[in-house]
Each structure stands twice: as structure tokens, then as C-alpha cells.
Amino acid sequence: MDKKQIKEVIAKRVAKEFSDGDVVNLGIGLPTKVANYIADDIKVILQSENGFIGLGQAPEKGKEDKDLTNAGAQPVTIKKGGAFFDSAESFAIIRGGHVDATVLGALQVDEDGNLANWMIPGKMVPGMGGAMDLVVGAKKVIIAMVHTQKGRPKILKKCQLPLTAKNQVDMIITEMGVIKVTDKGLVLTELGPEVTVEDVKSSTEAELIIADDLKKMDV
């Protein structure tokens, strides 16, 4: 798979985690692509942390509205039934547990469900934006990312970079598989296309428990 295919595979699999009526916040980048794969027979409400629910697709060219952007400053639309609010309410929704799932990328994630995705000291310090609140507040935290960074594992025994949040990640979805964060450790529950369990293990620094009923990733 090339990089583009990898991202599509991940996005496709993430989309299967949602149920009808779920309120979901998608991070910028790869997570945003998940919206394209949500099944037609369920209704998922996308929350945009800059202040609305009912986040829709990009507008047609020429129909952009300067007053309607997503959290990445891109022009977007709002779906019928959506609602706008201010930042205090937006984060009351997020922190208060009213978001069923959030999908975010990661620099590093570890065996304890710790997540580092907001800074590389001395190098990249964009700020945490809404990520820290999302990871603490959402009922389910899904990390959607390419399994390794230039061949180096990102799923570690212990995160080395400054954390975004402690013990909050519920599952990790990469092109190599689906990994659940449990009390016993990381459990590989689904195996990605074109890889073996050994491939996943060798690309993962953390200890991996292989689920008894390991399945093929459904993408």
C-alpha cells in the first residue's frame, strides 16, 4: 500500500467504530478523512470544537462563507439540524462527556493509554488547541495513525514526548491492525491487510497481547 492507500484503510476502519446517533469529533489531518466512510444507514453528528454540531462537507467552490469554518480554518458547511454555540459551551460538550468518540493522530502512544501528540520540545510546539480536552472528555478516544514514523515504532512501552493526556486512549487503529488498550495491556484484535502478527510485533515497541479471536481487519 502507498501512503494514500494506508490512510484510506485506516479512515475506513475507524468509521466502523461509530453507532447511529453518535457525536464525534474528528481531529485535523487523517482523522478528517473518516467522515468520508461513515455508513449511509447511520447518522453521526460531527462536532467542530470552534463552535458547532452538524459539521458538513466543504462547500462548492465560490460558495465559501467567511463566517463558517472548521477548527482548521477551512470553509465548511453545516447540516440541517445543526447548531452553533460559543467556545465555553463547545468545551462543556467536550469535557462534559457529551462527545461519544474523538479520533486523533499521535506522535506516540503507550501501553498505559498515554498519548503524546502536541509537541516535540525545541522543535514543534504548535500548542495543544482542543486536544487535551478532547482526549480527557470524549467517551472513546481513538488514535488513528500510520503505525510507524520513518520505520520507528510510535506505539511504545512509555511515551517519551510530553503527554497530551494520561491513561485516556481506548484504541489505536493503524494500517497494521486494531489495538485495544486494556487493563492487561495492549491487545491486537484485528490484523491489517498484507501483514502478519510478527510484522506488527516487530513494528511495535510495546508488548502486544494477541487476541484469541484475532480477526482480519474489515476494510
Partner: protein
């Protein structure tokens, strides 16, 4: 009480060294005219409280690019490379705050609260120097109120009394900032006679001055 003032007069309220809140989210909902005038005037050593520093050439990020800012309290600087550069070279102090915490800190100041307890940031560097309080076995950070000398906000519609209505995603930090500063100036996109009292998003008692509204 006539609250209407000229853009020049609005900017005159902002003196060197003041703490200024600016509404908006990556430029959307920024009071662009006031910002541009502030850039022209060159007021300096400002402490800016804002969700982000937008872009080098769009929104309040222009103030950073023009080196008028001494300190920024914000959740995100990633879209404005100049903020990052000034931070790295220690020209500008940058305090990074989780977005929801920033919103609550501003709201707390406006609402007369001494602080709020949030789970956000526990176990991260955000907790450094902050009091941790355990409630029913869960840890929270005590976050303190954040207020300013002046808040600059942007209203889509402002009525003759100073009531404000925001269109779509421009609302963001504008409502809460209007409650948390000594002086609040709204840049009106449109002046209307009256806003339906049910739909007012910032009641007129929070607004000191209105600029703009040229149709």
C-alpha cells in the same frame, strides 16, 4: 449613553503594555478592522489573550508579526510561524493553555468565580505550578480566572443598545471575552435597530463601545 465611537477612538483605548483579549478562532470572528488599525498605530508590549495567533497576514497574528506583542496566552500558535519563531528566540513569551481551560478561565473571570477544577491537563506539563485537588477519587487542576484591560470582539449584528448577535462559527470566544474585561469594544459588521431579546448573545450591559456598522 451613546456607545458608538470611531475606529480611531476605539484603538485609542488600547495603550502600550495593556492586556487585551481578542475574540475569534483562526481569524474567523476576529475584529479585523480594529486589529488592522492597531497594527497601523503600532501600540506595543501588549499581552494578548486569544484562542490562537491566527496567521502572519490574517487576523490578530498580524500584531505578532508586527512585534507589538510581549506575551501571548493562547491554545494554539501552529498556524503562525512568526509566533513560534519569537517564542523560540525568547522575543515573545507564549503561555499555552488547553482550549477548554482557556474558555473556562475567561468565563470564570466574567462570572466572578475564584477558579474552576478541570480534569484537562492532569498528568501533563500543563499541571506544573498548579494546585491539584482530588474530588471523589479523580484529580483536577485548579485553574484561575483570566481577565483583561480591554476585550476586542466582533459582532455580526449589533443593535443600537449594544446587544450583539454572532453569525455561525464567529461566536467562539467573543461572548465570554465580553464578560471578562474592564473595557469591551465590539466591532460591528452591521448595525441593526433591535435584536429580538430572545436571540441576543451578548447583552448590551457588557458592551462599552461600538465601532463600525458602515453600510
Amino acid at each position: 449613553m451613546d456607545k458608538f465611537i470611531k475606529l480611531d477612538e476605539a484603538v485609542d483605548q488600547i495603550k502600550d503594555g495593556m492586556t487585551v483579549m481578542i475574540g475569534g478562532f483562526l481569524g474567523c470572528g476576529n475584529p479585523h478592522k480594529i486589529i488592522d488599525k492597531l497594527v497601523d498605530k503600532g501600540v506595543k508590549d501588549l499581552t494578548i489573550i486569544a484562542n490562537d495567533t491566527s496567521f502572519v497576514d490574517y487576523g490578530l497574528g498580524k500584531l505578532v508579526a508586527n512585534k507589538q506583542v510581549k506575551k501571548v496566552i493562547t491554545s494554539h500558535i501552529g498556524t503562525n510561524k512568526e509566533t513560534g519563531r519569537q517564542m523560540n528566540e525568547k522575543e515573545t513569551e507564549v503561555i499555552l493553555v488547553p482550549q477548554g481551560t482557556l474558555a473556562e478561565q475567561i468565563r470564570a473571570a466574567g462570572a466572578g468565580l475564584g477558579g474552576i477544577l478541570t480534569p484537562t491537563g492532569v498528568g501533563t506539563i500543563v499541571e506544573e505550578g498548579k494546585e491539584k485537588i482530588e474530588i471523589e477519587g479523580k484529580e483536577y487542576l485548579l485553574e484561575l480566572p483570566l481577565s483583561a484591560d480591554v476585550a476586542l470582539i466582533k459582532g455580526s449584528k449589533v443593535d443600537n443598545f449594544g446587544n450583539v448577535y454572532y453569525e455561525k462559527s464567529t461566536r467562539n470566544f467573543n461572548t465570554i471575552m465580553a464578560t471578562a474585561a474592564e473595557t469591551v469594544i465590539v466591532e460591528a459588521e452591521e448595525i441593526v435597530d433591535e435584536i429580538n431579546p430572545n436571540n441576543v448573545m451578548t447583552p448590551n450591559i457588557f458592551i462599552d463601545y461600538i465601532v463600525g456598522g458602515e453600510k
